[in-house]
Each structure stands twice: as C-alpha cells, then as structure tokens.
C-alpha cells in the first residue's frame, strides 16, 4: 500500500454475513488505523453489487445457514473476492465466513458443499450439541500474539490440511472441534469461529491484519479494550464457570 493512499476495508454482504455484530470487525480496523493516523475507509457490498477487486482487507462474517448458501452463490458468480485474494488482498472469515473460505463445508442437512477453496481446510458439522460459549485460546504466533478471546456459537468443525496452520491453541471452548485448536491461518487469510467481535476483543489480531497491508505499525494502547480482554479471559477461566465449561466442553468434544 502506498504511504499516502487510503486503506480500504471491504465488508462482504453484511446483510447476509453479519448476524453476530460482524460490523464491529470493520470498526475495530478503522479505529486502530485511525489511532495511528492512517486514513481508512469502510466499503459495504450488497449481494447484488460486484465485490470490488481493489480492497485491502476483506471481511466475511457469520450468517445463518440459508444466508450462507445464498452468499456463496453470489460470491461464486461474482468472482471479485477470489480475484482480490489471488492478487494478495488480506481476508478475515468468521464462522460462516470461515466455512465459505474452506475447501468444503456441510449444510444444515449434512449435504457437503464446495467452498471457495481459499483455505486448505475442510469443515463438517459437530455431531451433538452446538458449540456455544466463551472461548479462550493461546495464539500460535501465526497471526498476532498473546491470547485470543471470543464467543462461539456454531455447529461446524474444521479439519486443517497441510497448508493451513491453526490460529490458536484451545484453552477453553470447542473451536475447530478437535479439542486442541481454534481457527486457521494461511498466508494473508485468517479464519476463526470467534465472535465478540473478534477484532474488537483481540487488538493484536486486528493489528496483524493491518500490518499485512501497511507494514510495521507504531504501538497503540487501548485501555478499555485491554480491560475487556482481561474480563473475558477471567470469565472463561473463572472457577465457578470452569467446572461447567469442563462439563459442557467434554460433552461437546466427546460427541464432536
């Protein structure tokens, strides 16, 4: 990105892929870019509009099953997102967005659908209970650092192939459904099951995405966000909850 140009954050089909406050991820990127004095703008794309190919960071959020399939049809027909990613754009996929970026994903009826194939990941469905609750993970260092905090609400799992690495090592929650990992990173594409919104709760991950575009950034401490991160970390680990989470986590992992 040229030093004087404006960073463009593209929200892809927020009316279909925006069920869990996903707009917050765009706000977090603009907030942290603004904190460094970087000009940035947010572009939202409706399903009947072409996805721009010149964006810097593309965001695909969470969505309901039917909305996700509808979004997939538009993305395949349009081709703009795939072209932008082929040209080196940065991308974050959350929940349904994670599954859409994968090689394949399972629909609500269990039918397997071909995904965009951007990630070397295969998404199926967790048998048994839906994964719902606070998640805590340690960053693997593949995208950002420190710990990852978020809230998951999904029926999907994720099996990573050789080209993808996990985003985090699971401490609490279900994540990818293997009892060990959360999310995926492959080159300039990051995907996760974490809502929250994830870039609001994880400023280091937001900075990672920004720095893929801008290069190294100056420090920017956000005290309210730090306070929120530690509150949610305590909530995920808290003694009263941890027993319950162990029970529910055990049930979910055992069946998943």
């Amino acid at each position: 990105m040229a030093p004087d140009s404006e960073l463009t954050v593209v929200q892809v089909y927020p009316e279909l892929l925006g069920t869990y406050g996903d707009r917050g991820n765009a706000l977090a990127l603009l907030h942290r870019a603004g904190g460094r004095g970087l000009p940035a703008r947010n572009v939202t794309v409706a399903p009947d509009e072409p996805v721009p190919r010149q964006g810097d960071i593309y965001l695909l959020g969470g969505g309901e099953d039917a909305a996700m399939l509808l979004a997939f049809g538009h993305l395949r027909a349009d081709g703009g997102l795939s072209a932008a990613l082929d040209a080196g754009a940065v991308c974050l996929g959350v929940c349904a967005g994670y599954q859409l970026l994968s090689r394949e994903f399972a629909g609500p009826d269990g039918a397997v659908h071909e995904g965009l194939g951007v990630l070397d990941v295969t998404c199926g469905r967790l048998p048994g209970a839906r994964a719902v609750g606070e998640v805590l993970a340690e960053s693997t260092g593949s995208a950002g650092a420190g710990f990852l905090t978020g809230f998951e609400n999904h029926q999907g799992d994720a099996t990573l192939g050789a080209e993808a690495r996990p985003l985090g090592r699971l401490v609490r929650g279900v994540g990818n459904g293997d009892g060990r990992t959360e999310g995926a990173v492959q080159g300039r594409v990051v995907a996760t099951y974490l809502h929250g919104p994830v870039l609001v709760r994880n400023d280091d991950l937001a900075d990672h995405l920004l720095q893929l575009v801008t290069g190294p950034l100056s420090p920017f401490e956000d005290r309210p966000v730090q306070r929120l991160r530690h509150e949610r970390r305590r909530a995920a680990l808290g003694p009263a909850r941890s027993w319950w989470r162990r029970q529910s986590g055990h049930r979910q992992v055992r069946h998943g």
Binding site: T19, Y20, R23, H31, E64, A67, L69
Partner: protein, 426 residues
C-alpha cells in the same frame, strides 16, 4: 386471508362453550401448594413468586397447562419484541367485555403461563416466549395467536431466526386464527400455516433479519412498503388493517389511536391489540380507549424519582428494541444512562451491540453501568463517542449527573435490577 367481522355472535373467534370439568385432585393440591410457595417467596424477598408457583404446579401436574386451558378461550401473544405491552393492551381491551387473566408480569415460559392459567376460568391472554410458542400452542389449543415480529435475540439460545420461524410454521398448522404482522416475512411465513389470517401492517424498522426468505432461502427484496421473495413468490400479504399516521384503518373502519406509551413501536403494539380484541368481539374503539389508560407496563416507561433525578425507564433487549429505545431517548436531550448485563435471559453473547446504531448518541453525555459495562464502553469507543463514563453502580452513576430528568436504557436483567434498586430510594 380474513376480513374481520365485528360482533360477538357472528364471525368472531371464540371457543364453543365446553362443559366445565372438575380439576384433578393432583392439580388442586398443586395449586394450593403454589399459593403457599408464592407467599413464601414474597415474604423472603425472592420476588413475586409466580414462576416458583408455576414450576411447582408443573412438577406435581405435568399436564397442568393442557387441563387448565381446556374449555376456555386462550389467546397467545408472541414475537421478539412488544409481547408484554401488546398482551397488556389486549387484556385491557378484552376486560371491557369479560373477565380476563394474563401473565402481565412478563413471566412467559411454561411456569409463568401455567401460573396465569391456574387462577380462575376466565379468558386467558398469555404472552409467550417465542421459543416456547410451539409448546404453548400444543398445550393450550389457543383460539387466537398474535404474532408480532421475529429478529435476532438471545442467539446463544435461539441460534437462528429462520430456524425459529420454521418451528412456528410447524406449530401453527393446528391453529385456527392468527393476527399477524404483514410487514415481517419471518412472521408471514409461519402465519400462513394457520387456517385463517388477519394481517396488520405494523411497519418494521429492523430489516436485517428478513433479507433471506424464511420459506425457501432465496433473496427477499424490499421496497418502501412491499417485500417479496423472487425465488418462491412469498410476498407481503394485502393487509386487513394498517396504520395511517396514528390512525388504525381497515376498508370500513378508522380508529384513532392515542396510546399513552411513547414511540412507533407502542403505536404498533396498540394497533395489533385492537385488531386482536376485535377478533374476539370487542369493538375497536373500545379497546383503543382502554389502551389510552396504560402508561407503564411491567415498569417500562415508568418515571422513578431518585435523589432529585427523574429517571425514565426504557427496556432494550436486542438490536431491534435498542433502535426503538434510542429513538425514544433521542426525543429529549437529557443525560443518558445505559445499563448492560449478559446473564442468561439477556443473551450471553453481546456481539450484537455492534448492530445497534449508537452513532446517534455522538453529542450526548453517556454513563454506562452493569456487569458488561466494559463491552458497552468499548462499543461506544468504537463508534467514536467521547463523553462516556463508567459507573460502578446505577445509583453512583445517577449521583454523578446533575439533578433533573434522566433516561435509563437497560437490557432485561439490568432493567429488573434497576427497578429494585431505584425503588429502595437513595
């Protein structure tokens, strides 16, 4: 579609009189024990005890709802937002015509419904949690179901709006008559499963959850008034009743509405209550008049005096209701306190705060409090608000403000706590 006819004798929705049956001994014992439990709950300060009483009845007589609903008119009111207010309006309208019972305290899951049914044999108006509507339909065999709206709320529990609409659709196949919002596709699709529909055009401001057709998964497109799915043809039905300004209008009738409660949402709640009461034989103008007398519902819109501050209580539980509450709060430039928790009934995941257009508060002084106040603080920071303070408690937040009027917007458990806290005085 149904054209509404008035008059109790013809064209109205009432159950034929059934022979009154004596309740089983088990149910009679359960009811007596419930009275004791409720009294104990009140004495111990654990609340009004309605839910405890209802749970006790259900524990001792699991078929209580079915038995208690048998042979009487039961009306169910459900939707994401407006249930309590609409049910209160409907009770007021019907009460001009007959004895009515209801769960006007807002206890809208099986325990609350059974508790309301357990007292008396009168017509029952039951506000029903949207997730429990199929259970309530199956148990009570309602003569009328009122369907308001469906939007994202407590997603950790309901998961998806479309899935909820699908369960409604299945449940309503056995229902004879629904009064339903023609402007919400997630209501229209399930309402069409019932035998008869009376459509009311209530308007819908929150459209984020109706962009996908609930019937086929195709794209649902809106114009200013109409909506339609271009794949399967599901479309906005021709309304039997609609709002023109503050008038409720049908092909033959015009009823001015002057609800005491503020905002468009409460005008819509009043409108649907008038139509539902008319379906039960109550003249629309009579219900409209009764609605004018209601200026607070379960504490909502109450103004509470606290240490020189006149605190108006506004409840906002999900993005759609926050939009309405913030609009009400925007009608006067007074200090604003936002109280936010994420206990079970609030929804454990507050990500949806980012769906609420807080930018409208850009020039306001805001105090945030509650167990998830940090989430709210960060949310407002991301929106660019600069005059935001965190208060450890509601009372300390109020004391930090100058004496005078204050608007408090709170989600469910924060709202209940605020009512208790403010009722005890400074």
């Amino acid at each position: 579609m149904t054209t509404l006819r008035l008059g109790r004798r013809r064209g109205t929705t009432t159950r034929p009189a059934a022979p009154r049956r004596r309740l089983s001994w088990r149910l009679r014992v359960a009811r007596r024990l419930a009275v004791v439990a409720e009294s104990a709950s009140r004495v111990l300060g654990a609340g009004a005890g309605g839910v405890i009483g209802g749970r006790l009845i259900l524990a001792l007589a699991p078929d209580a709802a079915r038995r208690l609903a048998s042979g009487r008119d039961v009306l169910l009111v459900s939707g994401t937002n407006g249930k309590t207010t609409t049910a209160s309006h409907l009770v007021a309208g019907l009460a001009t015509d007959r004895p009515v019972v209801g769960n006007t305290d807002g206890a809208n899951t099986p325990a609350g419904l059974v508790r309301a049914l357990a007292w008396g044999r009168a017509t029952a108006v039951l506000e029903t949690d949207e997730g429990w509507l199929p259970w309530a339909v199956e148990q009570t065999r309602p003569v009328l179901v009122v369907l308001l709206n469906l939007s994202r709320d407590q997603l950790h529990r309901h998961h998806e709006v479309a899935a909820l609409a699908a369960t409604w659709h299945e449940a309503l196949r056995t229902v004879d008559h629904v009064v339903a919002n023609a402007d919400d596709p997630d209501v229209v699709h399930p309402a069409l499963a019932a035998r008869r529909q009376t459509w009311v055009a209530l308007g819908i401001r929150w459209t984020e959850d109706s962009t996908v057709c609930p019937r086929c998964g195709g794209a649902c497109r809106r114009t200013a008034v109409e909506w339609a799915c271009h794949s399967c043809g599901l479309r906005r039905p021709e309304p039997d009743w609609w709002l023109e300004g503050a008038d409720l209008v049908s092909a033959t009738t015009r009823v001015p509405l002057r609800p005491a409660l503020p905002g468009h949402a409460n005008l819509a709640n009043a409108a649907v209550a008038v139509v539902a009461a008319a379906a039960m034989g109550v003249p629309p103008r009579r219900t409209a008049s009764a609605v004018e007398q209601i200026d607070a519902v379960a504490g909502r819109y109450d103004v509470v005096e606290h240490a020189g501050r006149q605190v108006r209580l506004l409840l906002a539980k999900n993005p759609a209701s926050w939009v309405e509450a913030l609009e009400m709060a925007s009608t006067r430039n007074v200090p604003l306190v936002l109280a936010f928790n994420s206990d079970g009934v609030d929804g454990r995941d507050p990500s949806w705060l980012y769906d609420v257009p807080f930018g409208a508060l850009a020039d306001r002084s805001v105090v945030v409090t509650g167990r998830r106040s940090t989430d709210l603080l960060v949310r407002l920071e991301m929106e660019g608000l600069t005059d935001v303070r965190v208060a450890e408690s509601l009372t300390s937040g109020l004391q930090s403000l100058p004496p005078g009027p204050v608007d408090l917007v709170a989600n469910y458990t924060a709202f209940q706590e605020a009512r208790r806290e403010l009722s005890h005085g400074p």
